[in-house]
Amino acid sequence: MMKTRVYVAVCVAALLALPVLAQTGTIEGHVKLTGPAPANARIPMGADPNCLTINAGKRVTSDIVLRAADGGLANSFVMLKANGGGAAPAASAVIDQRGCQYHPRIQGARVGQTLEVKNSDATLHNIHSLSTKGNNFNTGQPTAGMVFKYQLKAAETMLHVKCDVHPWMSGYIGVANSGFYAVTDNTGAFKISGVPAGKYQIVAWHEAYGPVVQNVEVKANGSVTVDFAYAGTEKPNATIAGLHVEEVSLPMEATALELVDATKSTSR
């Protein structure tokens, strides 16, 4: 990774005789589901009378696949395989247990950032992480208003949390090494800014369809678009497997360098 950046920097510096490491670019794009969206199952909450009361009159579904009309897939975690992006933010990444669901269902966070788990329901929730990297916690929150704070220890994509009281409750946190991640909004759009120029691997992950990897080259002061597409037949995989970066020029499929409207919001 570092070698690539140095290589690129030396090349460009030789060309332009200007230092380029301080110049950053933007990656934008969409994650789309080309096929039709499967129906999201209705959640029967009868096991917990409190959840029934809290959701009285509503038909609650397990919102795994949220597909916009044009195919935009929400709740996809997009991450650059890189380091950097400044220090972990002081603000916490918040998961709220509300209406017997996790809000947000998918989010990103940094190693070292605090994860704040809130219980906004007047019922027992249990936040239980199924971590294979050391981000282990499993604690009950019996009353509304309780807050549990946990400092994320290790990078983990994805950290799966679930509630042992309500089996339908499931959430994912992408704990990244870098600040270069985003979650697609309800149009399927994402934007990652401040990326130092260079070549990277970028991966999109969705709860129902697993990871998809592409290569991207970020130019200083430029914006590059990367689009991901799922056919809808992929199988879910909760882990984004480690992939090494190649140093030579990579085939860039379907990339076009174009300026994208920066006013579009890309993170949830």
Binding site: D48, P49, N50, T123, L124, N126, H128, L130, T132, N138, T139, G140, Q141, P142, T143, M146, K162
Partner: protein, 589 residues
């Protein structure tokens, strides 16, 4: 025996059965208080689930943030309350304290057969108990898989469970050492003339109890080691193949069986419940005979029943496992043996009831507790019958009905008998009597409150309130109503019970210093321990003159040299020269 012993030799590593009995007694009572406190915290949570209590903060921020008890902490309280009460409080008190102190005295022996083994037994018990308590400080807290420690949960549980297993190994070893001692002592060291037919019923009860401990505990010790290995050494005795926990396959699981643990555990734990009740029946028998001033009715039947009970207790264990999917044939076997085992209990209880018939009852404080034991144990025993029938057990298993049943036998049953024993033998140990007024307040308050706690549990269980629920059943629509109607009342009764123990705690300590001084036989009792000096001196043997036994243990209602009774060691021709003094018949309360 050396006359000059160092303080450590005399009071810490004592080999004198009386001091070891006192050590066991004080330690067990402290553990009883600790287990009781855990119960109070549990009942506060059950009565008012999710409410912040200032007192809950003693558990620390991790267990009770802001004073709100977390469900995982409730599990710790539940598991530790059960373990502490059974293994650290009742058995050491009933067997280690009362048994150790009284058995050599009652059989006329100078000490136990193996004094050093006796000391070893206490010094295995104390570290085991401290390890159990230390588990509260372990990361993740104390053991939280129930007092039954069922795998696979107990194997994936937090570190405290390892402490629990190590503690259990110490405690079981302590009981095994003690039981050998009791058996040999009772068989070999009886005074001349003390035939089996002249033994006080208390000694018979202790003998059967010791056989139960000796034969039933080893499987659990082995199972405890096996579970420990499963936890720390990657073995798989109790983990089945293909075990998936939270969506992840457990790597070291394979070839084991969780049911194996259940069998090994209950093979001990059923005889264990008879270990809990037999010494209590022994104490009640002594106190009743003494305070009715009549021999026990049906002494031989009682002895025979307790021996039969001992044998039967080994073939009923799977009535704790009716819901594990056993076939109807084996289920029928265990139902049958369970129904049969109720018979000896009924024989003993009936004999004790009939012993009251036509007698002139002295309502001393020990007698009040002993009298209350009878109906309370009756309720406990009777409510066990539906549990022993598999068809009814389908509905009642793992509900509050079970909790009500076993608490009735143990709490207003055994613990009341323990109190009876404390009030009765306190003058023997200390030379002073416990204050009677405080004793009666303690008795009546405890009786009232304890029924307030446990009687509604039968209703809760029948309504379907499951046990081991952190909120007492409020999360289940079918159980909410029963839980909400009864839990607050039960919890208030528990607080009441706590308040009524305060007179006893004060009485206990104050009477050691300021209690009314009494002679060596303040209750005018017949058994040999009362023939020994008051507060027999340590390390000097028990009797000024080695006793010879001339008669049975309950010669009451006959004209004797000191009153309406004949001590076991008084010769027949020691007839009174004058009528007994009038105050010999008075209520010496």
């Amino acid at each position: 025996m050396s006359q000059r012993q160092s303080w450590v030799r005399r009071y810490v590593f004592s080999v004198d059965h009386k001091w070891i009995g006192v050590q066991y007694g004080v330690t067990a009572l402290l553990f009883l208080l600790f287990g009781f406190s855990l119960m109070i915290l549990m009942r506060l949570q059950l009565g008012w689930p999710g409410k912040a209590f200032g007192v809950m903060k003693v558990l620390g921020e991790a267990r009770a943030p802001g004073g709100i008890l977390l469900p995982e902490a409730y599990n710790q309280l539940g598991a530790m309350h059960g373990t502490i009460m059974v293994f650290l409080a009742i058995v050491p008190l009933a067997v280690g304290a009362f048994g150790n102190y009284l058995v050599p005295l009652q059989i006329g022996a100078p000490d136990m057969a193996f004094p050093k083994l006796n000391m070893a037994s206490y010094w295995c018990f104390l570290p085991g108990g401290l390890i159990m308590l230390a588990s509260f400080a372990a990361p993740g807290g104390a053991a939280n898989s129930g007092w039954t420690s069922y795998p696979p949960l107990s194997i994936i549980a937090t570190e405290g469970q390892t402490f629990w297993l190590v503690g259990m190994i110490f405690l079981i070893t302590s009981s095994l050492l003690g039981s050998v001692n009791f058996i040999v002592t009772i068989l070999q060291l009886r005074a001349p003339g003390m035939t089996f037919g002249r033994l006080p019923f208390f000694v018979h009860a202790q003998l059967v109890t010791s056989f139960l401990l000796l034969l039933a505990f080893p499987p659990l010790e082995a199972a405890g080691v096996m579970q420990l290995m499963d936890r720390v050494a990657g073995t798989s005795f109790f983990l089945p193949s293909g075990l998936v926990i939270s969506g992840q396959v457990l790597g070291n699981a394979g070839g084991g069986n969780p049911l194996l643990w259940q069998h090994l555990f209950w093979f001990l734990a059923h005889p264990e419940v008879y270990v809990l009740i037999l010494p209590a029946m022994g104490i009640v028998a002594e106190v009743i005979a003494n305070n009715t001033r009549r021999p026990l009715w049906g002494y031989r039947s009682m002895v025979g029943a307790s021996v039969f009970l001992g044998f039967m207790s080994f073939v009923v264990w799977a009535h704790h496992m009716f819901m594990t999917g056993m076939g109807t044939v084996i289920s029928a076997f265990f139902q049958t043996t369970t129904m049969i085992i109720s018979i000896p209990s009924v024989i003993i209880l009936t004999a004790l009831f009939i012993s009251l018939w036509g007698s002139s009852i002295r309502f001393t404080t020990p007698m009040l507790f002993a009298l209350a034991f009878l109906p309370m144990f009756g309720i406990g025993g009777l409510t066990g019958l539906p549990l022993g029938l598999a068809a009814a057990d389908i509905h009642l298993h793992d509900t509050y009905y079970v909790i009500g049943h076993f608490h009735y036998v143990v709490a207003p049953g055994t613990i009341f008998a323990m109190f009876a024993g404390i009030y009765y033998w306190f003058p023997k140990v200390t030379g002073r009597k416990l204050n009677d007024t405080l004793g009666k307040i303690h008795f009546w308050g405890s009786l009232l409150c304890i029924n307030g706690i446990f009687f509604p549990m039968f209703y809760q269980g029948l309504a379907g309130v499951s046990r081991r629920l952190w909120d007492g059943g409020m999360q289940y629509a079918h159980a909410k109503g029963a839980a909400a109607a009864t839990n607050p009342f039960m919890s208030m009764s528990a607080v009441g019970l706590l308040i009524f123990q305060l007179p006893f705690i004060y009485n206990f300590f104050a009477s050691i210093k300021w209690g009314k001084l009494v002679g060596s036989n303040p209750w005018d009792a017949t058994t040999l321990e009362w023939a020994a000096a008051t507060s027999p001196p340590l390390a000097h043997g028990n009797f000024e003159v080695a006793p010879v036994v001339y008669r049975g243990p309950y010669e009451y209602g006959v004209r004797g040299p000191s009153g309406d009774f004949l001590s076991q060691n008084v010769e027949d021709d020691a007839a009174p020269l004058a009528p007994p003094p009038s105050d010999a018949m008075a209520v010496t309360a």
